[in-house]
């Protein structure tokens, strides 16, 4: 396992697989996520992006920030495009037309993954293509200005389900993508956060080396649409873990392992405060929303602990 400094060196310089000059928002963590994940591959990586922040900011023609083969087709098909690339790779290798070993990485935001690309992802996992799917989850359609997604948390205000006189924002809890992916009985699924580079790197490495498809879900606090100061991205990511809002865990060959267990989990308010999307929750009359949110987080955490303790294969 390389040190943090060695990882940092691998993500910069002339050999980096994605280079500077892209147009990510100030404070956006997607750059850190993709650099860390790409650095974890010991083989060349072919990247497929769904339409979304990453695609838009890295490729405005005639420029590209990619120093590794990269493609994009549409919003919902990163996993199925990756299926085709993997099929081509197998066929061309079998026929002796290529000889290099590669890793295939499909990347989407939560919109391209939890929602519109969900079927393509499920199909590709079920067919057992050898690829890793990475979702950078900023909990909404942030590329287009904070519309609701299946990953948007309970109580968040978005432009399509805004908080108002009779609404406290999103009334549903988000999907559990990690467990859905694990239900495909694939050998590696993990949840990581942008602030913990070592953990993310390790998980990306395991994903690339998995037997068959792997899924890696990474929380990506969005300074632009969660609306916090761009210096606080890592801080919010850390708080999401410390409040158990976004536990760091992995499901390896069906067995759950929690990577970080906060000794004193912080109250959810510490994560919520300072974010415009949750501002309304601190107004009189909405106290019950935070209470309910805290209960859901604690219940989910207790369930996750039981899953781990049981040792039962997912």
């Amino acid at each position: 396992m390389p040190t943090l400094q060695e990882i940092a060196l691998k993500t910069s310089g002339a050999d980096a697989r994605i280079v500077s000059g892209h147009r990510m928002c100030s404070g956006c963590g997607i750059g850190s996520i993709i650099k860390t994940v790409l650095a974890a591959s010991d083989k060349p990586v072919i990247v497929v992006s769904a339409t979304g922040c990453l695609e838009v900011v890295t490729t405005i023609y005639p420029f590209t920030a990619w120093n590794t083969p990269w493609m994009h087709v549409t919003f919902e098909n990163a996993a199925s495009v990756a299926s085709g690339i993997e099929a081509a790779y197998k066929a061309l290798k079998r026929r002796g037309k290529i000889d290099e070993d590669v890793n295939i990485l499909a990347v989407g935001g939560d919109g391209g993954t939890y929602d519109i690309g969900f079927q393509a992802l499920s199909g590709a996992l079920e067919r057992r293509h050898k690829f890793m799917y990475l979702v950078y989850d900023n909990e909404g359609y942030m590329n287009t200005g904070n519309q609701r997604s299946g990953a948007t948390p309970f109580g968040a205000s978005t432009t399509t389900v805004p908080a108002g006189k009779i609404s406290f924002g999103k009334p549903q809890w988000r999907k559990n993508l990690v467990e859905i992916a694990a239900a495909h009985r694939i050998s590696y699924v993990a949840q990581a956060a942008v602030n913990n580079t070592m953990d993310l790197y390790k998980k990306a490495q395991k994903g690339f080396n998995a037997d068959g498809p792997a899924v890696l879900a990474v929380l990506q606090p969005c300074p632009s649409n969660w609306s916090f100061d761009s210096s606080l991205t890592m801080q919010y990511s850390k708080l999401a873990v410390e409040t158990n809002f976004w536990p760091l865990y992995e499901i390896e060959n069906g067995v759950v392992h929690i990577n970080t267990k906060p000794s004193n989990r912080k109250p959810i308010e510490e994560f919520l405060k300072g974010q415009t999307r949750f501002r309304h929750l601190f107004k009189p009359g909405n106290e019950h929303v935070i209470v309910e949110m805290q209960k859901m987080i604690d219940d989910e955490w207790a369930r996750l602990l039981k899953l781990e303790e049981s040792g039962i294969q997912f």
Binding site: A88, A91, L92, K97, A120
Partner: protein, 389 residues
Amino acid sequence: MGVRKAITGAQAAAEAMRQINPDVVVAYPITPQTPIVEEFAKYVADGIVDTEMVPVESEHSAMSATVGAETAGARAMSATSSQGLALMWEVVAATPGLRLPIVMSLVNRALSAPINIHCDHSDVMGVTTVGWIQIFSENAQEVYENTLLAIRVAEDNRVQLPVMVNQDGFITSHAVEPVEIFDDALVQKFVGVRSLDRALLDVEHAKSVGPLVLPDYYFEFKRAQEEAMSKVFEVYHEVGTELSAITGKQYPFFETYRIDDAEAVVVVLNSAAGTAKAAVDAMRAQGKKVGLLKPILFRPFPYAEVREALKDIPVIGVLDRSMDFGACAPVYSEFRNALWKLDRRPAMQSYIYGLGGRDIMTTEIEAVFEELLSGKLDPEHQRYIGLRG
């Protein structure tokens, strides 16, 4: 000389795919395309081909994975019909812009609603504006040869565009006909292998494919696509000449049948052209001067050649197996455009026939000829053949 086999249009498409032995085939079954996928899957299961076949969960993923495989450097093929084409439309529309020479069989079937599994051309006519080369086939023999031809046209460096090879659902796809299958080795030499020049899997030369292109460059991309489309005619002609050496047949942009001295000509696509030939023969036997024009290459559309072929015909009836609601039917529209430049324009009549698989009879086409010869036309309105009154 080939071997004559009694097979369906679907099997003819699968036979061509067997000989092509593509690197990758991705498809989702849909009536009436299903037997193509099933037949090809058997070839894979028996080791007759060594293609990597990906049985995906939807047509959207079928075209997406085909696009992924082609971009990676593989020769990848697919097949669909109707609703399947409609579901994959988004990716179908992206394919020509990515300049991917994918060849796909389209077994023409009516579009919902109401749901109907039988033949008409409303599926293909919904995608003629997005930049695929469109080739139509009258029978199983043409399906087979057009599929071979399509691979080479698509992959020519001057073109690099996708092709749909059309055949009529059930009428062609499920009817058994004698089909001459040419020698495997000769055909394989003709189709060759796809070059890896542009391959994404060439990791030494990293490429970014499918970037965001804003108003400063998007227009130029689309203009380049049109330029490639304009090259199809010469490439189609060259490749057709090469294929002739194996098959002994000609590969024109359209087929004309007994039109030299014709006083009335009918234009019709795909299997109904066979019916129309029988009607022409029956009318000719009665001394009536009628003929047929069967379009084969529909995109790009050979306007100048069509104009030259029909310049002396006084009256033309165009039969469409789909409608463009509130506007001229698609085939009629193209022929009217093609003939507009003539000093002496022919009288024209648009007819709609066969929607949702309704049969068209030789007697009905004979009645069309009688109407055209009588001069009792109504150019402002389309007429309907075989419709309940």
